[in-house]
Amino acid sequence: MRAGAALLACCWAVTALAGDVRAPRAFLSPELRTLQDDPARHPGWLWVEQGEALWRAAPPDSGKQACAGCHGDITGMSGVAARYPAVAADGALLNLELRIERCRTEQQGASAYGYESEALLSLTAAIAARSRGQPVNVRVDGPAAAKLADGRLLYSLRQGQLNLSCQQCHEENVGKRLRGDVISHGLGTGYPAYRLEWNGVGSLHRRLRACSLGVRAVQAPFGSPDYLALELFLADKARGLAVEAPGIRR
């Protein structure tokens, strides 16, 4: 047991040096990892079920179709989350949340749910769950290349009163303790995630706002171009790692 822990700690040090990127689940406590893997006990599955119900429901009194009316059963969403964020035909970088909001306003003629609303989080979690275990594979060529470059720049920018960059924590101090947390590679593959601290499911941008606040930097708004660019950069970093959403986090 002891030897196992020591060996693990040793591997961590080695891989951190090798500069490769390990999945967020590798940083979870054994208890949380078990919970994340067990939909029957994972509290985030309440959101997934809620989202599946919304998927099948037409907006009331609109005469428009449900998501299922255009897309069929939600099983057809398999693999989608692994490709997001992605650049839309009009050049906008959209993550899964913003893609859903577009369908909602443009296809269903309904009002947007609003970022971080329970409905949008539920639908996002339900769709993302259909890609669980599939390797992240976002496009970073063509129009996405410039967004990726924006993300990379922000990632290495020292910010806030505490003057720290994402990179200083999530590349240079991976595996070390920051108070009660162990610093991971800071990837987005588990989001939307159920966080014990939130007592509910929240988006990646909510997590990013927490990191910004942590260094006392300006918190960008949900869905802002800055966080979208960072989200794409993180997804490129996570290329080949499995989608974990809905994750479970401290």
Binding site: Q161, L164, K176, R177, R216
Partner: protein
Amino acid sequence: MTVRWAAPVVAACLLALATAGASEVVPFQAAGDTIEQPLRGLSGDAVRGALVVKNRETGNCLICHAIPDRTERFQGEIGPPLAGVGLRLTEGQIRLRLVDPTQVNPRAIMPAYHRVSGLTNVDARYAKMPVLGAQEIEDVVAYLASLKE
């Protein structure tokens, strides 16, 4: 009853006092890797300094460092443990490392606690003010200098 909450109240007042002067950076003279003179000539108090170091709103040093105090859970390990720092460094060296560690090492990860220039995207609530005021810096210097083992 009175006795039970007197201590936190006193602590809160001390912190309020300490934060009162926190809004501006005072001039200082660095020589080599030290600032020999106490900021504003203030004298520090090690007991208050320990509170600043542990306080999650102000110093919050324990996100990155460990101190020799077993009652503090979840101490950090990004920076070196602070046990014995009073033997390794002089007060002047400690002072410069708190005020602006980038003057010792331009690539320092540790934030500058008494500097406002050269920062990007600072949240409005903290704009143009150093993390710690002159009195707080002197209190923390006194506390760290007392960590001799």
